[in-house]
Symmetry: C2
Subunit: 267 residues, 2 copies
């Protein structure tokens, strides 16, 4: 039993959809979310920069005394997780492996991935899938406009429909579609209309939540505290970050600003 | 007469449309362009961060021995120019004032502005216009999706048309429309179709080019060198920055990467 909070790190506000799923699955846990909104998006950064920024985020959360860390960002997971997970003394999980483990169980081999350009370019999903399911056929498509569309609230209008149609056009006979960017669950309805009902749409937050529960059980880290809390920190609080975060998690978010000179040093 | 290059600073690659206009107007000049692609976009950053990053950029260009600096970014101009222009010993011009001076001469008072959320939120255009033309009526609309659409090459398709239509809908009887984001000149055709032929569409690069020529003449800084050169530096060269830059300026760009530890220190 461990009443300390779970840390969630993301490059911005998108990880709120992952946090939403985890909070639903683990209703007695407390959470500290850090969104590096000042340097968002990570998708256009080098691997080296992403590792450096992810380490900064992890160290901020460790100072806040979290018991486990979830990297809720597809780009940071694919570029930085393997490099950093053994540097710290607490469990760190990303969004890719839990999802791939689930897909492996479904026995479906024709897998589509949509994500930001950075995540697609890193081939993080493709490598992880082929590593676990060597005979899988993976088709990946970068959709750089979909995340900003969700932020604009254009997730079910005609523009979103046309953009989704345009982006999904090249997919050929996929059975499973991974929403490889944390903003995309809000496009589920629009995507379902385009891709058809036979394709299973994967909201990665769900499988991260299942994995988190497993790890808490395994390491006996479950909380029995009833004073469950959610603290949200952003490295930049201007712009509409609180508004978009609230939209993604489905409840009002008011983030605290991380004071960089004290707690979040750029190395 | 001064054969040193002109420096152009931008938060990313958008300033290439401004550089294009200046190069056409000043064919004997050399240029050094710095795009802070690593920290792009500035639109979601605080005023304090934007000032700090713009100073870094200016100091990089000054070390490269430029004779004049153009801040080709609407956000950096509106948030940082007034604060930093007296800190250095060379002329620094932004994209706002030259445009407003032109509009003042046209005697048109109903002015629309479209730009990124950060630029609109800063009210930089509005303040500058009302300062020069107190009886102007300014309507401003943030269009956060238009710049990423241009980067995707979606500037004349149906999605761009619908997005432009949606964004421009609230404008009421404007006579002039300022393209307050440097990506937007590539949407001119699409915007013209929606807004009608009577509205004058303002490509800010044109007026920055005119202003630059005036200053070179005034301070006798014109180059008579025939070895005119263009050097382009980005703080991040991965992703499709070179590709988008080439699209915006209409010729092949291959940027050099700024090595931050040596020349571009984050304070």
């Amino acid at each position: 039993m461990d009443n300390r909070p779970i840390g969630v790190f993301d490059s911005g506000v998108g990880g709120m959809t992952v946090l939403k799923e985890i909070m639903e699955k683990l209703p007695t846990e407390s959470f500290i979310y850090l969104g590096d909104t000042k340097r968002f998006p990570y998708g256009s950064k080098t691997k080296e920069s992403i590792i450096e920024l992810t380490k900064n985020g992890i160290e901020f959360l460790i100072k806040k005394d979290v018991k486990l860390i979830i990297i809720a960002c597809g780009t940071a997971t694919s570029q930085a997780l393997d490099f950093i997970k053994n540097l710290y003394n607490i469990p760190i999980i990303g969004v890719i492996r839990p999802t791939v483990e689930y897909i492996n169980k479904t026995n479906k081999k024709n897998i589509g991935v949509i994500a930001t350009a950075g995540t697609i370019r890193s081939k993080g999903w493709e490598k992880a899938i082929l590593n676990k399911i060597p005979d899988a056929k993976v088709q990946s498509i970068a959709c750089p406009l979909l995340a900003p569309m969700v932020e604009e609230g254009w997730n079910e209008n005609k523009i979103a429909t046309l953009a989704v149609k345009e982006y999904l056009k090249p997919f050929n006979k996929i059975q499973t579609l991974i929403l490889g960017c944390t903003h995309y669950p809000l496009l589920t309805k629009t995507i379902k209309k385009q891709i058809g009902r036979k394709v299973e749409i994967i909201n990665i937050g769900k499988f991260v939540a299942i994995k988190t529960k497993q790890i808490l059980n395994e390491f006996k880290l479950n909380s029995i505290d009833n004073k469950k809390q959610l603290e949200v920190y952003f490295t930049e609080t201007e712009y509409k970050f609180n508004e978009v975060a609230s939209k993604l998690i489905g409840k009002k978010i008011q983030a605290k600003l991380v004071e960089e000179e004290n707690t979040y040093v750029i190395k």
